[in-house]
Each structure stands twice: as structure tokens, then as C-alpha cells.
Subunit: 516 residues, 2 copies
């Protein structure tokens, strides 16, 4: 029986053993190799709850320390470090477990009338402080755990769409679609531990590199409980009737309402697959090849470029090459032709192509276990975190160079050594890539967080200067507010604040995230 | 030297001659065959302007009768009928011709301080009353003609995007892209007579049937002048930073701001093409074939299904068959394989397939001249108009049957004979089609408009009952308000009104369209 980790990523039982932690940390120059002990929850102090649930909803609330501890943070590096230090000062007073939409509405009503902040909580995998209360004038804080609203309510096989409850976790969704040979085909890295409603609220990116990767495009209609009523859009394959209602709630990060139901567009499960790995000595040549592949037309399922450091770090390469992981898949027929076209472009840019090589599966398995590795390194005192963005192809070379120079300098200054600063493209579009950067360096005991904060400021500074988005698929939450506030047009901020005031007049929904 | 028609579609010089009008009308049972005379503008009465332009902007304004007449209406059937009757009571007091963004901002400032309504006007091709003032408490009305803001300012060939001024008409855009072998590949039926900014403001649909047809997906960033400031989003291929700012203005129909600039995503000009026409005896079998083709994966450039009546009316068929017009195109390589897959599906559903038949070019040429035919029939007293929608595949059969029954009954009751009520799919998505209906019937002299209004109520009623969108790509304007107000979630209306109040505090921007 697996249980969720209260302090780190995913399953408690899959946290890496101390010995592995040490082995991993040994590869980080200057890093300690003895991991700190994970505190026993019984030893961690939690402030007494300041509020009581309303009597009629009492059985939907919990004030148990494990529930409160498990709902204090998301799963960012800063969350893990604080949890490991036994710092749970941000713990919610209560955790609500609604069983249906009526419960959600009742919690919002009660919160509005009592001035209690409500933080919608799906799978809890936020890496941007999306579910953590960070101060304000609220009478108390409730984490609203939505995983009780789970399941597929309806499948329309003719139109290929499914009506899904917002609290449904990724695997539960796919398990229900599989017998119909259908799939949503949306696999964020957090797939196991994130919910459908969370994907919508944060505009999640799937792990397919090209085409319609953002969940936005897979939404046919949605149902949102707001403090002033329920918004439900019609199921429409396309519409030109005014600004899209769905696009207002997509990315609203729980600040405007709680997504309780959604009709999602499905597709047939792919049965034909092909993959290859292309090795480039020159990273710039690889970037150019990826641009050509992306602009050529055919949509690949995978087109992930790892720079030399990233390839070594993930085990997909030796560090002598940048590695381009290519994959194609289809439900209707062989995809070798599509893959061959991409391979041909890669070769014409100097790549050595390994068809069906080990690099592809090495990368995939590293990708899925990476968050556990992050936790292991964090326990050994490393500064280990990622940040991601997107920009045009024209802007990419200068941006990547600036990140390497300026964030690299910040890492060196803050950590005393350059550490690892690697880059990969997680998603690519005809007009630009989504570069994703990983930082790993030995930290100072007790100062890991302050060190990362300093590096993060430098990172956000570079992104802003180059007009690269502060986040491609991690959302804004609270951690990205400084960058986001500079990025979004002021006029749009005015519009968003007006909308927030109209839909959440008491300002109880996820205060501090995104806006307000 | 061609000039724009002040009363009807497109070029004045391409209006069909009286004799042709009569020949066309002869095919409509009961229709007069002598077209009414187009009034001489010198005989049409225009109310004296109630307002004067501000002195500093005087040379940007016109109060000339031809300018005011030409900016009174869009190009819907109801607009043509009123213009032909010499009814220009809705004429704006003044027409503004800004030369740049500063002029636009100055006009908005002046309008806000004086309570003058401003109606943004691009190519003037609205068929939903999008540019017509229909009453309110404003001191006067200005039509803001944006075609002075024209041209491509910048082309980024690396990222394949262009910065384009909002008032640029379709052909001017493509003319500038052609030498670079690039294209926006967005060809609404109004292409010649509509602007880039108008496409964005109305969420225009291109004439490509599948894939990313709505302009929404082709927008990389945009610049909007609002009464409270300029909103400019960053050029981003993808982003997860909050709700999309662009999606707020896409479809805002001039009610929140004036779109002055946009970065549009481009692609290489296709060089490889293939087309075919598939003839079905059974319309339902054709619908099923189209669904299969759409869900199979490969994106066709054309996949338009015409029912028996539509095929005959457009000259693409004899009336004995429904005709499916198929086309594929690509910049990178032959598309015969893609087309063959679609043809195979059509054949397996009983189609007789004509490869490179005359039906394809017949349909295309009919498509482009259709608005002129509409004007010709209107002059002969016909009731002739279209309405379009979108719904899921599961909902489509019942919707189409209900339209045929209920709108058909309305036509018979209102016009005394069934007339023509045809259906085509203009766009198809994996989860549903966009059915487009054409009504042609003999009208009563002087009552054409009232007759259409009655039919339109029946049409909107059916769409609403079946939760099919009130418009797939014609926008809401003023004509679709009754349906739109029932379609959009109330909570979203609340959000939109709050946004409108925040961005347009004096309520001067396109009052009555979409909201307010």
C-alpha cells in the first residue's frame, strides 16, 4: 500500500534510500553525501487551527496534523527544503474534502461569509507556490482538496470526448479511457500526482513535444464553481461567439473559481511508434535542426533537445554530445516516414543518428524519476531546481546564452562553484522553443533556500529582459509573481483584477496567487 | 479603378448586371425577376452630423455623405436591403480615418470626454451588425475606419512571424509575404474586404476546413489601444503564465479596445496540392465519412461537405448527390497519400469519387462570388441569408434535422413556400462539424427584412435548444445578441461586464455589440 509523501515528491515508498542519495550527491562537487533525516511528523509543530468548520459541513473537514502537513506546500525545491527543516508555519488551519460540487459551493459560501481563505488543491504537485498561503488578513486558511471529485462521468465515443470530474488524477482518467481504446494523451511529468482540474487551472503542458501540448486545446467545455455562481460553457468544437469563456478560467490558478467538471477531447490510442536519438557535437546546429523539423510540418510526439550537460545528467548521453530525442506515433498507420523526415533533417545538420538507441529509453526513465533525484539531492544540501520558459526562435540563441552567462554567474557567486546549469527544450513550436533549465550545485547547510532565491531572481531577470515568458507550463503561483507582474500587460492586469473583484467579491480564492 | 460598393458586397464594379440578377432570381420560385434600382447616393437623405470633430484632429475626420453612407452598415442581407431602400438612418455622424496609433488613442480620449460612441471599422464586411450604431444615450457616433493603419512592419523569417498593422486588408498582407515564400494562409470568404484587426476582433475562421482555422491560433502577440492605455503582449510561441491576455481581446469585437498591431504566425507557401470530389447519395453516410476523415488524423486543407441542395445551388453538383470537396496541400512534399486516405474513407462509405473533377473548382468559384449573387437576389426581392454554427458529432444529426424541420417550417410560413434551405460543413473538427445553412426564398416587396427577422428568430431558437453555438465564425455583433446572451455563462457575462467597465469606463466602444 503506497502512501503519498508529505515532505517530498510522489510516493513516500519511492523516495530514494539514503545510500542512493549519497551516491547521487557525490557527483555534485562539494556536496555533502550524508542526507539529512526526514523529520518525523510527530515532532513537527503545527499551530492550533484558528477556525472551526461550519457544523453542517463538519464531516467534510479535517484538522489532523498529517492532513494539514501534507497540504501545506506544493512540491517545489523550496517546499521540500522547508518540510525537511520541519518548517510548516504555512500550514492551513483546516483541510476540506468535498465529495461533490455542492460541497465545494458550500465551502465557498461559508468562506466568503467568514473571511476564510480557500486554496484549491488538486494533486498538490505545484512547483510555484500555487497552493500555499503566504499571509494576508484572512481569518483562517482552508486547503480545498478536490480529489474526492473523481471519475469519468460520461464518454461520447462518437465525438471523442469525456466528461471528467476536476479532482480526477491522471492514471484514473486513462484507466477509464483505455478499455474504449481512447486516450487524452496528456502526460505532464506530474501525471501520477496531478488532477485534471489542476491541469486546466495551470494551463499544464503535456510531455508531447509538438502540436497541441497545452491542455487548453483539449478542453471542449468546463464547469467552474465561483463565489457568485456556477459557470458552465457549452460543448463546442469551435466557436466565434465572443472571447472564449473557457480561456478566462484556463490558467486562473484557483483565483476565480474551482473547476469541478470538464469535457475533454480524446483521441484513439496510438499503436504505431518509432523513435530515434540524434547526437550533435554542436548545440547551435542541433537548435537549427530542431527549428527546421518543427517548421517542416509533420507533428512528432517527441522532439526533445538535451544539451551536453543535460544529456549527461539524465543518462541519455556521455556529455560529449547534445542529444535530440525523436519520437513519432499514430493510431492509424506506420510513422516511419514521419520519423525519417526528421532524421534526415538532423543528419543534414551534422547529427549522428541512432535509430532505436538506448538514449530514448534512458531519457524517459530519467525524466520520470527526476523529482525523486531532486529530493535526494535536496536532502544532501544541494541547491537543485529548474525553471522554464518559451521564446521565439529568433530570440532563443541570445536568451540561452544570457541564461548560461548570467544565471551561471549567479550560481558561481552564490554557491562558490559553477555547478550544473543545463538546458533542454521540453516543447517546440513552429515559432519557437520552450527551453527548460536545471540548476544543481552544492549549497550551504541552512542556506539552501536563500541561495536558490538569489539565483531565481537572476533567472527571472534574464527572462524578463529577453521577453521570454516567466513560465511555459509550471504556472505563476506565488513564486513567479515578480516576473509575471512585469510580463502581463498592465491593461490586462486591470481587466483581471476587475474580473476577480466581480467573481470573488470577498477575495477568498487563493489569495496571493497570480493576482491580488 | 475599382471602388467599394456603398450598398452591397465588395467592388461596385462587380455587382451583377440587372439581366444576370433576373436570371438568378428566375430560379427562385415566385421571385420577381426585375431587380430594384440601386438608389443614387445623392437622393438618399442623411441626418446632419450632431457633433464636430476636435480641432486638433479635424483633418482625420470626414462628414461627407459617401463616407458616412459607406460606413453605416456592414454587409448582411439586412444591411443590403436597408441600403437599397435608401434607409441610412443609422449613419454615423462622422467617419474618423486615423493614420496611426496615436490618432486612435486621441480619438478614444476625445470620445470618452465627450460621450461620443466609437465603432471600430475594419473592412466593413460584418454580417452581424458589428459596426452599426443602434441607439443609446451617446452624444454622437463616429465610425473609426482603421484601414489607414496598413502594412507589414517586420518579418521574422527565422521564427516565421510578421508584425502587421491592424487595418491591413487580406490581399495587402499576402502581397507582402509572397516574395518571402511565406503565407498566413488565412482566407475567410471576406478575405479581400476584411482586415487583420477585424479577423482578430471577430475570431474569424479561415476557409481551410481542418486544423487551426480560427485566427486565434495564428496570433503570437498583439497590441490593443484601450481607453485606459495600450495593452501589448509578448511574442510567445506558448505560455502558461495566467489566463491568456490575447484571448481576452480575441473576439472582443471592438468593445474593449482597438487592435492596432499583431504578430502573426506564418508558414511556408504550399506548393504541393491534390483535390478530389466525393459524391454521396446519402447525406448521413457522407456525414459519417467526414467524421471518420476528421478523426483519422491527417489535416486536409479542404473537407467541405455540401448537401444535395447546396451542391446544386453552388453549381458543384446536380442535386442528386451530396458532394464532399476534399483538398490537401503542403510546402514540403507530395500530398497524394494524405488525400488517398480520405478518399478511401469516403469510398468505404459509398461515395463515387471524382479525382480532380470539375466540382472542386465550381465550388470554389461559386464560394467567392456568392455574396454578389446574394445582392442580386436581394435586389429581386428574395429573402436570402445564411447562418452558421458548430456542435459535436453526436449532436449534429439531430441539430441538422431540427434546422431543416423548424427553420424550413418558418420559411414556408413566412414566405409561403419552402424555398431553398441548404446545409454545408464549412469547417470540421475531430469533435464536431461547423454546419452552415443558406436560406433562399421569394419575399414580399417591402417585407423582406421582417420576413428574415422572423426566420432568424426560429433559427436562433433551434441552435439554442441544441446548445449549438450562435456563431462559428460570423461573430456576435448586434444581430446575434439574443442567442449569445443565452449561450454564454452568466458568470462569464459578469466577468466581461466588469472588464468592460474597467477598460472602457465611459462606455464609448462599440456600444450594443457583444455586451452592454
Amino acid at each position: 500500500m503506497r502512501t503519498r509523501s508529505w515532505w517530498g515528491w510522489g510516493w513516500a515508498q519511492e523516495a530514494l534510500p539514503d545510500e542512493t542519495c549519497g551516491q547521487l550527491a557525490a557527483a555534485v562537487p562539494g556536496c555533502a553525501t550524508v542526507p539529512v533525516r526526514v523529520p518525523d511528523l510527530r515532532d513537527v509543530e503545527l499551530r492550533a487551527p484558528r477556525i472551526r468548520p461550519p457544523d453542517v459541513l463538519a464531516d467534510r473537514f479535517s484538522d489532523s496534523p498529517p492532513d494539514r502537513a501534507g497540504h501545506t506546500y506544493g512540491k517545489a525545491f523550496r517546499d521540500v527544503v522547508r518540510a525537511l527543516a520541519g518548517d510548516l508555519t504555512a500550514a492551513p488551519d483546516l483541510v476540506a474534502f468535498p465529495r461533490d460540487e455542492r460541497d465545494v459551493a458550500a465551502v465557498l459560501d461559508w468562506a466568503g461569509s467568514t473571511g476564510v481563505a480557500v486554496l484549491p488543491y488538486g494533486g498538490g504537485s505545484s512547483v510555484v507556490g500555487g497552493t500555499e498561503y503566504r499571509g494576508g488578513a484572512h481569518a483562517g486558511v482552508v486547503s480545498l482538496d478536490l480529489t474526492g471529485l473523481t471519475g469519468v462521468l460520461e464518454i461520447d465515443e462518437v465525438s471523442r470526448a469525456a466528461r471528467v470530474l476536476g479532482g480526477t488524477l491522471g492514471p484514473a482518467l486513462e484507466d477509464e479511457l483505455r478499455p474504449r481504446r481512447l486516450t487524452l494523451r496528456h502526460f505532464p511529468q506530474s501525471f501520477e500526482f496531478s488532477t485534471v482540474g489542476g491541469w486546466l487551472a495551470t494551463r499544464a503542458g503535456g510531455h508531447y513535444a509538438m502540436g497541441r501540448t497545452h491542455i487548453d486545446d483539449l478542453v471542449e467545455s468546463m464547469r467552474v464553481v465561483t463565489p457568485v455562481g456556477v459557470a458552465e460553457s457549452w460543448r463546442l468544437p469551435g466557436s466565434g461567439a465572443g472571447p472564449s469563456p473557457d480561456r478566462l478560467f484556463l490558467g486562473s490558478e484557483g483565483t476565480l473559481g474551482v473547476i469541478t467538471e470538464v469535457w475533454l477531447r480524446l483521441q484513439e490510442r496510438p499503436e504505431h511508434r518509432a523513435s530515434a536519438a540524434a547526437l550533435f557535437t554542436d548545440f547551435d546546429a542541433a537548435v537549427e535542426a530542431v527549428r527546421m523539423i518543427t517548421q517542416a510540418g509533420p507533428v512528432l510526439s517527441n522532439c526533445r533537445l538535451l544539451d551536453h550537460q543535460e544529456a549527461r545528467f539524465s543518462g541519455a548521453g556521455t556529455g560529449e554530445h547534445a542529444v535530440l530525442v525523436l519520437g513519432a506515433e499514430s493510431a492509424s498507420g506506420p510513422v516511419d516516414g514521419v520519423l525519417a523526415e526528421a532524421v534526415e533533417i538532423a543528419r543534414s545538420h551534422g547529427a549522428d543518428v541512432q535509430e532505436r538507441g538506448g538514449a530514448v529509453s534512458s531519457w524517459r526513465s530519467a525524466f520520470l524519476k527526476m523529482p525523486y533525484v531532486r529530493d535526494a539531492l535536496a536532502r544532501c544540501g544541494a541547491v537543485v531546481e529548474t525553471f522554464e520558459t518559451a521564446c521565439t526562435w529568433a530570440a532563443a540563441p541570445a536568451l540561452i546564452a544570457a541564461v548560461r552567462a548570467e544565471v551561471g554567474a549567479a550560481v558561481t557567486q552564490v554557491c562558490g562553484a559553477p555547478g550544473l546549469l543545463s538546458c533542454r527544450f521540453t516543447h517546440v513550436y513552429p515559432d519557437g522553443p520552450a527551453p527548460y533549465f536545471t540548476v544543481v550545485a552544492a549549497g550551504r547547510p541552512g542556506a539552501q533556500l536563500a541561495q536558490w532565491d538569489e539565483i531565481k531572481v537572476a533567472a527571472m531577470e534574464v527572462l524578463t529582459k529577453h521577453h521570454a515568458t516567466v513560465t511555459h507550463h509550471h504556472a505563476v503561483g506565488r513564486d513567479h509573481r515578480p516576473g509575471y507582474d512585469r510580463q502581463r500587460p498592465d491593461v490586462f492586469a486591470t481587466a483581471l483584477r476587475a474580473t476577480k473583484a466581480a467573481l470573488d467579491p470577498h477575495g477568498v480564492l487563493n489569495p496571493g496567487a497570480l493576482i491580488g
